[in-house]
Symmetry: C2
Subunit: 562 residues, 2 copies
């Protein structure tokens, strides 16, 4: 279909998205629930079958040339079995040659043409969300319900938001102007000016292992919309959800008359990582990275030639001072700890409480009792295996399991709640764990000053509530925070809380109890990474994320015969 028609077909959605982008009100055009009532009959079964049909065979559609090299060693965290999918692997030379051939018509296309195609890609991604949810489940380890939202609506919303931001940024630059002024005596001089938006080069997008679509979709949208081809390098343990998304997007590009190699998949292996090779290519101009803080910082410090957008990790704090009903708060925090086994960049980790305890309505509760009741709140969520399975999902990586064991040994005397596996009712071989909760002295909290990826929480008791706030925000500023939380019913203290987090460059959610999960992040309403602490620099959907991905080239012409 003609790209201009695609733009018009999806224009209503785009306009609503631009409006929500600025108003920051609730907007979620994509369907978040797999409920039968919301999807065509048989959609779920068909998606599941489509996923199963991918297994144990080469993923041929992403082959660019007659290379025989392949990669792919994904293992399901649920079954412990290899997925058996091999992906074609291309030499960077071949890959970039294909990308280069694809680029010219795309960079010459009008922004509305490119945005039309991007909107179509989002719509097609939505139509394959059941298949992608199973792919996400059996690579990332997310439980099915989370995977459906996580590789579906949540990520599609964010992708649309980034696309709306890119469209708005481009649409704000007028394409032409008439200019008139006097230069000396005589009639005024008239100039016709044209302003053309030009992309900057190839964007390398690195998606992460545990939640691949959430950052990849915004990065793909922001780059394609502004005219930059995308080379997507997935985490080697989580290729399939990205391969499916790339296949689908390539079909949309082709159907709109463009070369599908505007979006390619560059797989690699743990043994032979390819990211730095891609960064070093002269055609590469942008890197969008999601993953660990160490490699993120390496990219930030070693690729000055590139535009670098990162989302890494921090040591997210909860400052727990008081509550109307403490158990409601502890339930909310416990939910944040169990959801996908805290393998989310917004999951809470360091729970700060004042030494004199926490006020529960009109009653004081000692720090020791708060710890005990938190452990019980976690227990309530995971004691039934079906509930545990639906909430915790599986551990993405063996490393997480090893780290849980290591932390359990290191803090043997200070364990508030031990991490134990739960019995997954459907997948007995699943790699699973319930949250480990550790009591930690703030004076000796090095273990808490980094992201412990997975279901680990530290409870830290500070002398006073102000000390708790100061230590939590200081750690956020020094070691990073993607999300922070505070619970207080003291309206007089609230401004100090907001201010302390703001000055630390950390966003904060206050008294999030009924919003479940507490770490829910709403596209169009919540901003993501602030860029003011070491947890990354990419907000994903603000003007800073999109406005440098294209540049303005001008032509002006003096009109003759004046």
């Amino acid at each position: 279909m003609d790209p201009a028609q695609l733009f018009n077909r999806h224009l209503d959605r785009l306009e609503r998205a631009v409006e929500a982008l600025h108003s920051r009100s609730a907007y979620t055009p994509f369907v978040e629930s797999p409920s039968r009532k919301l999807h065509p009959e048989g959609a779920h079964a068909a998606g599941r079958a489509a996923f199963e049909a991918r297994l144990n065979r080469p993923f041929e559609s992403l082959r660019l040339c007659d290379t025989r090299a392949t990669a792919g060693a994904e293992v399901s965290p649920y079954t412990g079995l290899p997925l058996g999918i091999s992906y074609p692997r291309h030499e960077p030379e071949e890959l970039y040659a294909a990308v280069k051939r694809a680029w010219d018509p795309w960079r010459r296309a009008a922004p509305r043409q490119r945005v039309g195609v991007c909107l179509e890609i989002l719509a097609r991604w939505e139509s394959q969300v059941f298949e992608n949810a199973y792919a996400t489940m059996h690579t990332a380890g997310q439980a099915f319900m989370l995977a459906f939202a996580g590789s579906g609506a949540s990520s599609l919303d964010r992708g649309l938001e980034a696309l709306a931001a890119a469209w708005h940024a481009m649409d704000s630059v007028t394409t032409s102007a008439s200019y008139e002024r006097h230069f000396g005596p005589g009639p005024p001089v008239r100039l016709e000016k044209r302003y053309r938006l030009m992309p900057v080069g190839v964007a390398v997008v690195l998606s992460c292992g545990s939640y691949p679509a959430w950052n990849a979709y915004p990065a793909i949208m922001a780059n394609l919309a502004t005219g930059n081809p995308v080379v997507l390098k997935p985490h080697p343990d989580t290729i399939l959800p990205m391969a499916i998304a790339v296949e689908t997007a390539r079909a949309a590009l082709s159907d709109a008359g463009f070369d599908p190699n505007l979006l390619t998949l560059a797989v690699d292996t743990w043994e032979e990582p390819i990211a730095k090779v891609l960064f070093a290519r002269p055609e590469t101009a942008i890197v969008d990275f999601t993953g660990g803080q160490a490699f993120g910082a390496w990219i930030e410090n070693h690729c000055p030639r590139l535009q670098v957008y990162t989302e890494t990790a921090g040591c997210n704090a909860v400052v727990l001072e008081s509550a109307d009903v403490l158990d409601d708060v502890l339930d909310a925090i416990a939910f944040g700890l169990v959801l996908f086994s805290a393998q989310m960049c917004t999951a809470p980790q360091n729970i700060w409480i004042p030494g004199d305890g926490v006020r529960d309505g009109s009653v004081g509760v000692s720090a020791a009792e708060v710890r005990t009741r938190l452990a019980r709140a976690v227990d309530r969520l995971v004691e039934a295996p079906a509930s545990a399975a639906g909430l915790c999902g599986a551990l993405h990586s063996e490393k997480t399991q090893a780290e849980l064991a290591q932390l359990s040994a290191q803090f043997a005397g200070r364990i508030v709640r031990p991490s134990t596996p739960y019995a997954h009712p459907e997948f007995p071989a699943a790699r699973v764990a319930t949250p480990l909760v550790i009591e930690l002295d703030p004076r000796d909290r090095a273990a808490a000053q980094r992201e412990c990826f997975g279901p680990v929480a530290f409870v830290l008791t500070a002398p006073t509530r102000d000390a708790a706030l100061a230590l939590a925000t200081d750690d956020a500023a020094r070691f990073g925070a993607i999300a922070s939380y505070a619970y207080t019913v003291d309206a007089d203290w609230l401004p100090a809380v907001e201010d302390a987090f703001a000055m630390a460059g950390a966003s904060v959610g206050i008294n999030l109890i009924r919003q479940r999960p507490m770490n829910f992040t709403a596209a169009f309403s919540d901003y993501h990474v602030t860029g003011l602490n070491p947890a990354g620099n990419a907000c994903l959907t603000d003007a800073a994320f999109v406005s440098r991905r294209f540049r303005i080239v001008q032509s002006k012409r003096e009109l003759a015969g004046q």
Copy 2:
């Protein structure tokens, strides 16, 4: 005066600026001409006297503490005499301590408060433009008329444009939102969200020797408006115009109730440059650089931790294919070559003509004759000393004079027009030169593939017009171009010209004849550096220039009792 009142006082100007920023139509609120009719009686004489009163004494008002160290060895390119001004020189430790003390109330101020103060700074800069024009003349070497516009309206317009861009970017982020959605059964959850804009850190602004205000004013405005303190490091030969501007802005900050150390001057010397020390300070987050390509590239490649904005230099081309009246075109080009002795980043340098000559109306003119007539056009502009003085001004640097001599020797057999001094009617000791025009074989054009700073032009004859276009645009892409020019009356060829420059990432001005000078750049209408070739990355006034200088920190609060 209260910053909110300042905002309201200047609001009309700001609103018009934002409108012009987007429409790209003509808007110049500041007075460009020193004509007596446009200024209060005695303004010129008072400004001149104020400049003279600065000479031969310490510039005390910029002292931050009791340091006795000074710097300052400026010499007037017109008189050859030292200005005799010493500027206080501060240890970086002292300087940054002062900046740090100043920052907090500024970063907490609302954007409209900061923007109000910035608008007031621009107004005060305008009121001192006679003084600053003399300061610019006797440091940069600009002739008085150019200096009046160059450190006046032209730079104030650009400063206002950058300020409008910063204001628009900040004003586009809503400060709060109400969010409501269902999480499970029960009534919807309501959240109040607040979005706070936070600056990123100290901005080091490096102004250049020959045209200091044009980039410094936009950088100062963009940084201060978004909450970032500015440390301005002037070129060691051109301190005074910046010192005066800093003094004036500091008074405006103080009068608005803020600490003047939000804008400080960090002088250095040729022997002990300080820029890299400032870049290495952990408080520094931004560098805005104007100057040579070599140091610009060094900054771009060695400061990954910083936001880097550069405007350096290129080898600006003129592709001359045809004209209705060739001598009109040659007059325009000659004007571009003599104006401020081509010491402007937009001055033409490499003049490309087809081997079979240039069409002049219905007549063909050989390449040899084009060269001769270009030389004659230059002659006409500089033969009268008063005209030469008003147009050429003086050479900013001794190095430029030395380079003219070196090029004259190197290309002895191929000189179309020799560079000779002219007799300055007012300053017999002035360092002056008329344009050197050299015929160059495109196959041996290394000398033309960099900026030859000063009055040097190469005439290059390519086999065909398409070859001329291809070579000129290839050089622009590889070696940089800030401005490019083309002259053709062939409407069929015009699209190829526009496209070739666009694909090279170079902006182009076509058939600029009556726009005099040809390299006039209109704030609000012309975009500056594209960022797509090696001449720098800072457009000065697009969204990319402003949108990363602040970040968004969010606080959201669930409303109780729902």
